[in-house]
């Protein structure tokens, strides 16, 4: 290994990590060349493929690597949170059921296509280059949304020409669609406020209705990752670790630069995708509740990426001074403290919103970024609850049960395009998100702000 691992967990979480391949995978990351600082595992870390999910690693731009496996297939899979002016208790059970039906009908989801827009080649180039800004320019949202997206909703560099025809083909029919698996739209009630000043800054009120949206770059991003893994498999310049999914390009190499340009473009597709989904959710809610944008609000609190590599400036323990590093976050997200230049001015005194979605039956958390995270984790935090059960085990537990009815009994209206997805994503399949939130708060890498509980969940 070229460095050590640093794991954020309590006893129970670390035991879960030890029970699968998480720690072995972290050791594999620590052996990659040019790694700067420790290989990090967030409290939600679990076995992935190559990198652990919940893994963070930074690499020197000259001696280090960029790794498609360290970003993953769903490039810039991410989550955004919208506030509203509605109190959750203002909505009747009938209104919530109608909202669930309308959102299930109005938000394209599930396997395959379902795009809201027809993209010409020129349009696709613009999506890939401009991300969420392209969507806003087409009328899908407000200019103000962009301030509240990571990187302003567009990564740079991003080269549309680095995207293969196959990736374009997979993405063309999917822009503005949720997808399947763990992607979702959720209406939730703010159940508890831990930090009133932060909640005020984020626009969260106790009992208020919020909207979570989780999706990524769809088939386009999957194809970009596959394209570069294939190219790297036969590239003599590439780093070929024993775990083949960790194959990586020297960051300064030609293929490394091409991957970064393609990954940036795929990330922009994801930003545009979430912006279109947001537009569709807003329009559906306005219509379903016969309410105006002024009545509902539905302003964007923040949009953060989960699967990404970015050239960022950090103070590292070894250097003691700022240096640029390629930070890979695989199933992890950003945590930046107060006054950080990338924190929107509205949140400057508080820190960046850290969004921690849980499972569809329990809760999710909003936290605030910290300077401790900037110093210890390259400004990173956990991205979710983390899986506890394999999909096969979850399906076995769900056999013979009516999960939708069970969730309805617990006050959650669920609409899913697939019974299989519902089983795989059942609440018991995930770790306790509260535990992940508590560990982050105790370690100081993010501070608790609010807890939300689900009311309506739309799954792919």
């Amino acid at each position: 290994m070229n460095t050590h691992g640093l794991i954020y967990a309590d006893r129970q979480l670390i035991e879960a990590m030890a029970a699968d391949a998480t720690l072995r995978q972290l050791a594999g990351v620590a052996a990659l060349p040019g790694i700067v600082g420790p290989a990090l595992a967030m409290p939600d870390a679990h076995q992935g493929y190559g990198f652990p999910i919940g893994g963070v690693a930074a690499f020197d731009p000259d001696q280090g690597v960029v790794s498609p496996g360290g970003v993953g297939y769903d490039i810039n899979c991410g989550v955004r949170l919208l506030r509203s002016r509605l109190g959750a208790d203002d909505l009747s059970a009938g209104q919530l059921t109608r909202l669930a039906d309308d959102l299930a009908a109005g938000v394209p989801a599930g396997v395959g296509r379902g795009s809201q827009v027809q993209l010409s080649d020129k349009d696709m180039d613009q999506v890939l280059a401009r991300g969420a800004a392209w969507a806003v320019a087409q009328g899908y949202g407000d200019t103000g949304d962009l301030e509240f997206c990571e990187a302003g909703g567009a990564l740079s560099p991003a080269d549309p020409q680095a995207i293969s025809p196959r990736a374009r083909q997979r993405g063309r029919g999917q822009l503005g669609s949720l997808g399947a698996g763990n992607h979702f739209v959720e209406l939730a009630r703010v159940e508890h406020i831990y930090n009133q000043a932060a909640a005020d800054a984020f626009g969260l009120t106790a009992g208020g209705l919020v909207v979570w949206i989780h999706s990524g770059s769809r088939g386009l991003g999957h194809q970009v990752c596959d394209d570069f893994l294939r190219r790297l498999a036969k590239d003599k310049e590439a780093v070929h670790p024993p775990e083949r999914q960790l194959v990586a390009a020297p960051a300064g190499s030609s293929i490394g630069r091409q991957y970064v340009a393609a990954m940036g473009a795929a990330a922009n597709f994801a930003f545009a995708n979430r912006q279109l989904l947001t537009h569709r959710v807003r329009e559906t809610m306005f219509r379903s509740l016969a309410a105006s944008p002024r009545d509902l609000g539905l302003g964007l609190i923040y949009d953060i990426a989960h699967n990404i590599a970015k050239l960022e400036e950090h103070i590292t323990p070894e250097a003691g001074e700022k240096r640029r590093v390629w930070v890979h976050r695989k199933g992890a997200t950003r945590s930046l403290g107060p006054q950080h230049p990338e924190v929107p001015s509205r949140y400057s005194a508080i820190g960046l919103p850290v969004l921690l979605p849980g499972d569809m039956g329990t809760a999710s958390y909003v936290l605030a970024g910290t300077t401790i995270a900037e110093a210890e984790t390259f400004g990173s935090a956990a991205h979710g609850a983390g899986r506890r059960l394999s999909r096969k085990a979850a399906k076995k537990q769900a056999a013979g049960r009516d999960l939708a009815a069970e969730l309805a009994q617990a006050g959650v209206v669920v609409r899913s395009h697939s019974r299989g997805t519902l089983a795989e994503e059942m609440p018991a399949a995930y770790k306790d998100v509260a535990q992940v939130a508590r560990v982050m708060d105790a370690a100081g890498i993010a501070r608790l702000v609010a807890r939300t509980v689900p009311l309506v969940v739309i799954k792919g």
């Binding site: 699968d20 297939y73 498999a233 697939s418 299989g420």
Partner: protein, 143 residues
């Protein structure tokens, strides 16, 4: 004899194991295993054949590429693979070639409620080895 296949535990994703007497059978079994993940009860329709010509740096690479070709056809073209007729060659330098055809049925994505999305077949812990007189492969899917 037909290939046998099943699933492997993985916290986040899903693994497949496939066993067959020869490589052609194993690749056919891999397509069947993937197809059963994607769609438990395939939609009815006329099977159309499409030729396939893939190269890999070794057998594992060829298997991953092949499965990802089927994922691409599913995701981009709305085509589910139901039949496989291929031959696999290994060259002395270890590189590999798959030549043949796959039988595909077109599906309507609007009627795909029984389907499961597969992002990709990964190289993570992927194996393809000969054990006695049988071949065995393991491959993990990102789902």
């Amino acid at each position: 004899m037909r290939a046998q296949h099943g699933t492997l535990e993985h916290t986040a994703d899903l693994g497949l194991w496939i066993e067959a007497e020869d490589l052609s059978g194993l690749f056919a079994g891999a397509a069947e295993a993937l197809g059963q993940v994607m769609w438990e009860n395939p939609p009815p329709g006329e099977v159309v054949w499409r030729s396939l010509d893939l190269r890999g740096v070794d057998l594992v690479d060829l298997l991953v590429r092949y499965l990802n070709e089927l994922v691409y056809l599913f995701d981009a073209k709305d085509l589910l693979c139901l039949k496989v007729d291929t031959a696999i060659d290994q060259h002395p330098d270890g590189s590999t070639v798959l030549v043949g055809r796959v039988g595909l049925v077109e599906f309507d994505p609007a009627q795909s409620n029984g389907a499961t999305a597969v992002k990709a077949a990964t190289y993570h812990q992927a194996k393809l080895v000969r054990r006695g007189n049988r071949w065995r492969a393991e491959v993990f899917l990102d789902v």
